[in-house]
Amino acid sequence: MKRFECFQAIVPLIKDELFVTTAGGATAEWNAVRPSDGNIQVKTLGLCSSIGLGLAVALPQRKVFVFDGDGALWMNLGSLATIGLHQPKNLIHICWDNHQYESSGGEPTAATADNLDFAGVARSAGIKSSCAANTVEELKEAVRHALNNDGPHFICANIAPGRAEAPPLKYDELENKYRFIRYIEETEGINILRIPMPASYLLK
């Protein structure tokens, strides 16, 4: 299965969940399928799972998806142990495993040799709801299960390499950040951004 067809298959299941997407091909494709200020792109390879963990812990009433890649997860494999330690019930971590560093030109990753079972690693790290999905139907079922049950959840989606035509993101990281925070403010009814008041305003 291809990543893009997976995205098209799961998007009808999505409402206002938050998405932290990896520094890789998944980001542009996901934004093409689900354009929303509830998506934030990551620029540091490997860090999406950690950012997703922080977001999930800070906003426990909200489902948080992390879209990872096999190269990115290899770089921060320890994050699975950290997620296993903290057990965020609302975190849904999907690794889009195409067995290569697609954004870097297709070099092999640790997954390429087929010795690495990401779902097994996640389960052993304490993420009990962990599975691999090899077909679009299996993936939809896993996502549906994750949306309807407490996690943390980990899904390794075994996909064929290849990118779909998707336009680049419309926003740079700063605009993306502000839009993302405003989206949380609006959907949660809370105030997050605090603009410091200049001292001259405070003086009588």
Binding site: I40, T44, S50, G54, V57, A58, T82, L174, K177
Partner: protein, 164 residues
Amino acid sequence: MASIAGAERIIAGLKEAGINLVSSVPDINMLQLINLLYEDKEIAHLPVGREEEGIGVCTGAHLAGKQTAMLMQNGGLLNSCNGLTTTALQFGIPILLLIYYAGDIGDNAFHMVGLVTEPVLQGLGIKHIVMRDPARVKQDIAGAVTLANSSKRPVALLLTRAVL
């Protein structure tokens, strides 16, 4: 060896400055501080395995409104340089970096890490204070958090044994 009083002063300073989530990787000189964080009910404490993870955790928590700090040794500052650069600085994320200053004058371990710590912070464009006076702990923490929020950048406090 670090003291309970030093750790309590720092925790009180963090609370006064509004810090409500701390991620950490330990150092022996911060043992009391870490122990207090494990017990504290007001500050969420998220230990991580590697410091760069903590930069990610603090970033994600900031997006949802938390006022965050990352507690680590200066070796961990070196571990987290890419996350600081391409996440915290590039997205404009205020994070208080509480860094034990190993290899500082008077410290007999990790002298190479001590040597490069301040030049690395300067290279990253992260402002810092070396904390040597227990009487200034609270105002240094408050000042660093104020600057982190107004500049939307990490700000570092280098903790020496004198304040721990």
